[in-house]
């Protein structure tokens, strides 16, 4: 979060809401009614490190002007809680056959059955 | 007229005699030439061509059994399941059909109560459709065993089947009395020539 964004938030930021992860969402206080096509600027103040994938889907829609208000989180039964990109962390995805995921996998080509006495 | 498909087959002494006569026509090492007549002979004895027949003919003619089976399935003359004593094959090809083979079929169905591919309960009759049997001049016609019955109508067909049922003698060939494929009612061209030279005409 740059100084500029902090400054902008302080001077011209209107708090809109906060998601489950603690990221805070702002938009411009200024309304330019003279220009009907003008869209108020929207931005996010991340909790912790700035990382695009931290934004959940419902806020993503608001942030990109798809919706006027954030969507309802978990409105459908099949929706999973949002997870940021975990690449490079311990929570990263590893295939089933990987040692970190237990090392058991289905048979595949190249396998052989070893002789045991 | 009986037996299962896998039952072993053997020529009776009389038929074996005939089989030997057929094979004698061909030089040594060419026994294979006798496959067709021998299959026919076996069919005359058993009534149909069973697997046993195929294997016996293959053995006698020194031919691979698969080759004999190929031949036997190629020709419609060989039957691959037991048929009635009178296997009625009605030609329904175009010439016969135009001349009323539908009526002939209807007559048989009415008389016997069986459909094409069927067989009467007493195993006396079985009915089949045949493709052109080469007697188009005398259409419509049907074949029973080795005999042709030609120039049929609904009535003559019923009459024919009725007689066969009762075991009475039947008239073979044209049912309206013409000889061979000469025109109905006598020659229409070269009439003079025919009467003087006695070519064609009645026997």
């Amino acid at each position: 979060m740059s100084i500029g964004t902090r400054l902008l938030t302080m001077l011209n930021g209107e708090f809109v809401g906060e998601d489950a992860h603690g990221n805070k969402y702002y938009q411009e206080r200024t309304k330019r009614l003279s220009n009907p096509l003008y869209r108020r600027k929207r931005w996010v103040m991340y909790k912790g490190k700035a990382e695009g994938s931290k934004v959940p889907a419902e806020w993503h829609a608001w942030l990109h002007y798809t919706n006027d208000t954030p969507l309802n989180a978990r409105s459908k039964a099949w929706e999973q809680p949002h997870k940021p990109n975990l690449t490079g962390t311990l929570g990263a995805y590893v295939p089933k056959g990987d040692d970190r995921a237990g090392g058991t996998r289905a048979a595949s080509t190249g396998d052989y059955q070893a002789w045991r006495p | 007229m009986s037996g299962s498909a896998t039952e072993a087959f053997q020529f009776t002494p009389e038929y074996m005699e005939q089989a030997k006569a057929i094979l004698a026509k061909y030089p040594q090492g060419r026994e294979r030439s006798g496959v067709l007549p021998l299959l026919d002979l076996a069919q005359r004895q058993l009534g149909w061509v069973s697997t046993g027949v195929v294997e016996e003919v293959a053995r006698i003619t020194k031919t691979p059994r698969m080759k004999v089976l190929e031949v036997a399935t190629f020709y419609t003359m060989y039957k691959h399941s037991p048929k009635g004593r009178h296997h009625v094959e009605v030609c329904t090809n175009i010439a016969c059909w135009l001349r009323g083979s539908d009526e002939v079929l209807r007559a048989i169905k009415d008389e016997l109560g069986i459909d094409v591919g069927g067989q009467t309960g007493d195993d006396l009759f079985s009915l089949a459709e045949a493709e052109c049997l080469g007697a188009c001049c005398n259409a419509p016609m049907l074949q029973i065993g080795d005999e042709y019955f030609e120039d049929l109508t609904y009535e003559t067909t019923r009459d024919l089947v009725r007689k066969l049922k009762r075991g009475e003698p039947v008239k073979v060939g044209s049912q309206i009395g013409r000889s061979g494929s000469e025109p109905e009612g006598g020659p229409t061209t070269l009439a003079e020539f025919c009467t003087t030279s006695k070519v064609g005409g009645a026997e």
Binding site: T109, G110, Y112, W115 | P64, K67
Partner: protein, 689 residues
């Protein structure tokens, strides 16, 4: 020699050549489905239509039309193309469009030709005909709806395989290709119908739904499951051998491949030795290479050479045998043998253990005497060559050995025991006259005759037959030994036989039992009686956990023939080299490298640091092994020991064709074949090789 023009190019070809063959000479490819170079001409697919002038104004089937003087052939004219399009449209009337689920997809002739001659849509609204699947045994899977009735399979089984059990039943729309009463196709060459089938009607059952051709990495290699040295192509995906196909070699296998060689490859994934083992307290436990070598060192160090012995198995490669022979040399042992079945072959005269007539030479032989050999099982592809010779006419074959076995060509049964051979050698038997009258007679001497205790005398008698009936003349040597092991000729060429005072296989086994031999090195040798090795310390080096591994005290995991680049000499004496198609399992290493490393651990380091040095050493031992893919004719010298022969009947060398080596014994497909063909058939008995 008629001269004709094809597509404007003039060509002169021998009379009797067909238009299609003439076009092939010019490099013009005419599409075809039913025509095949090695089968008779059927002319029933009509795909090869061309325009021929002069002649009737209609296209002619080029595969069945002999060339004539002054012919003007057009293979790409409007008429020819239109005719082929018509043929393709007719073929596709009833051919299902199931390429995505068809195993032939990607290597299908019909698919390829449809790209050129197919329409973009069908003009037929009627249903396609469907045909029930036919049972053809454990190797051939059928989807007969796809059949286009080219009859290649029928012609192959009838002509080449000599098993006239396939045929076309019915006719017209109702024609169906099937085996007699849908019995399994009882031929050792049945896998070839899969290669021949231009569509997906006959596909390989073990390979079904396994891979697409473009996923496979193809390696050109050599087969070692029989002694013929069939040229093969090994198809591999992710290091796993998925299928083996024949490769064209006119001199060896033409383009056929035996079923065992083709389908035993699933044994390459079973029962593999992937780590060294050392026996501790009676139990084999996994060990590192160092531990295994240390265990051997502890036993071998200070041991007299005469108390060490080595036996090479049937699939040992020349490189490994070279290294092992040298290792035994530095250890001071002369007890080594590559004839694990105890065959009494004379290693001193090369002509005495080769198939001197060569495989191609069979075609110029005009009389054949089989002695204790069953080529149909010992080398099915070679047997097909003999059948080809028989079909050409003017060929007489006689057999001394177990009678009644159908070899797919007629043989005169001369007797079952060696006394008949002696009679022929002494000219007292009528068949001797047949051989003498023949211009190029040959004798095939099988392992069934040589593995007996009187093998040496039989070898001598066979040589006498060859001498007295004029089998060895200028440019022709009809004396042929048919081996059953791929390693045998290579081993004999390398002199992997007892040195002076050394023990042979029988001597080594007796020595182990009595305690005279303390250390036995088995290089993939599983066919000896491993239970009768007494208290000997057994080192087993090989690829599979078979009989040898069970008895072993130290196991060194080696590679199978698809995983190493190794030299094998086929029964004709033709050195050929396998290629690496996939990597071996776990810790397994190339065999000569294991022996080289062991020599280092024993402080007797062999000067074999690279494969080039090994090969140079090979060529040094026997210069013949320096030239690949060529047969070096051997000089005809005296061999064999004349002596009295036993009158016991000959036996066959192979009890079960489908299980003869560790690979085929481990193969589930071969087990299934054994169940269907061996145990289901009363004529052939025995369950194990």
């Amino acid at each position: 020699m008629p001269k004709l023009t094809i597509d404007g190019i003039e060509v002169e070809v021998p009379a009797g050549t067909t238009v299609l063959q003439a076009a092939e000479i010019l490099g013009i490819e005419i599409p075809r489905f039913c025509y095949h170079e090695r089968l008779s001409i059927a002319g029933n697919c009509r795909m090869c239509l061309v325009e021929v002038k002069p002649g009737p104004p209609k296209p002619a089937a080029s595969c069945a039309m002999p060339v004539a003087e002054g012919m003007d052939v057009r293979t790409d004219s409007e008429m020819a193309r239109k005719a082929r399009k018509g043929v393709m449209e007719f073929l596709l009337i009833n051919h299902p469009l199931d390429c995505p689920i068809c195993d032939q997809g990607g290597e299908c002739d019909l698919q390829d030709e449809a790209m050129t001659f197919g329409n973009d849509h069908s003009r037929y609204g009627e249903m396609k005909r469907s045909v029930t699947e036919k049972e053809m045994g454990p190797l051939v899977k059928t989807a007969m709806t796809r059949c286009i009735h080219c009859t290649r399979c029928v012609r192959f089984t009838t002509e080449v395989a000599g098993v006239p059990e396939m045929g076309m039943l019915g006719r017209g729309e109702h024609a169906e290709i099937t085996t007699y009463l849908e019995q399994a196709l009882d031929s050792e060459l049945s896998g070839n119908v899969v290669d021949l089938c231009p569509v997906g009607a006959l596909t390989s059952r073990p390979y079904a739904f396994t891979a697409r051709p473009w996923e496979l990495r193809k390696t050109e290699s050599i087969d070692v499951l029989d002694a013929l040295g069939t040229n093969v192509r090994i198809d591999v995906r992710s290091g796993q051998v998925l299928r083996i196909l024949p490769r064209l070699n006119e001199a060896v296998n033409e383009e056929w491949l035996a079923d065992k060689s083709r389908h035993a490859m699933d044994g390459l994934r079973q029962q593999r030795l992937d780590t060294p083992y050392v026996r501790k307290d009676g139990q084999l436990v996994p060990a590192s290479w160092e531990e295994a070598f240390a265990a051997i060192r502890a036993k071998v160090a200070g041991l007299d050479g005469s108390r060490i012995a080595a036996i090479a198995g049937d699939q040992a490669d020349c490189e490994a045998m070279t290294a092992l022979k040298d290792l035994m040399g530095v250890l001071g042992s002369t007890n080594l043998d590559c004839r694990q079945d105890g065959a009494k072959l004379d290693p001193t005269v090369r002509a005495g253990y080769l198939f001197n007539s060569t495989v191609e030479g069979i075609e110029s032989a005009d009389a054949l005497l089989l002695v204790g050999s069953d080529p149909r099982w010992e080398a099915p592809v070679l047997n097909a060559r003999i059948r080809k010779r028989y079909l050409a006419g003017g060929f007489k074959a006689g057999r001394i050995g177990p009678a009644g076995r159908d070899l797919t060509y007629p043989v005169e049964e001369l007797g079952v025991d060696p006394s008949v051979l002696i009679e022929i050698a002494e000219g007292r038997h009528p068949f001797a006259e047949v051989l003498k009258a023949a211009k190029t007679p040959m004798i095939i001497l099988g392992m069934g005759a040589l593995t007996r205790t009187d093998g040496a005398a039989i070898l001598a008698a066979a040589r006498k037959v060859a001498d007295t009936t004029g089998m060895v003349t200028e440019g022709w040597n009809g004396f042929s030994v048919l081996h059953t092991a791929a390693a045998r000729v290579g081993g004999l060429d390398l002199g992997f036989v007892p040195g002076s005072g050394g023990l042979d296989t029988r001597g080594i086994q007796a020595g182990c039992a009595s305690g005279a031999v303390e250390v036995l090195y088995l290089l993939g040798a599983d066919e000896i009686d491993t239970n009768a090795l007494g208290k000997a310390f057994v080192i087993y080096q090989g690829s599979h956990g078979d009989a040898g591994a069970h008895r072993a005290d130290v196991i060194l995991p080696g590679l199978a023939y698809t995983e190493k680049e190794a030299t094998y000499v086929n029964t004709e004496g033709r050195p050929q080299r396998t290629k690496v198609a996939g990597f071996g399992p776990g810790e397994a290493k190339e065999d000569w490298k294991i022996i080289r490393a062991l020599s280092g651990a024993l402080d007797k380091t062999l000067p074999l640091d690279s494969v080039h040095q090994v090969r140079a050493r090979m060529a040094e031992i026997n210069p013949v092994l320096g030239t690949m893919n060529a047969v070096t004719p051997a000089a005809w010298e005296a061999f064999g020991t004349e002596g009295p022969v036993d009158t016991a009947a000959f036996t066959t060398a192979i009890a079960n064709y489908y299980m003869t080596c560790p690979i085929s014994r481990a193969s589930p497909t071969m087990a299934e074949c054994t169940r269907v063909f061996i145990n289901g058939n009363q004529e052939r008995t025995g369950t194990d090789g």
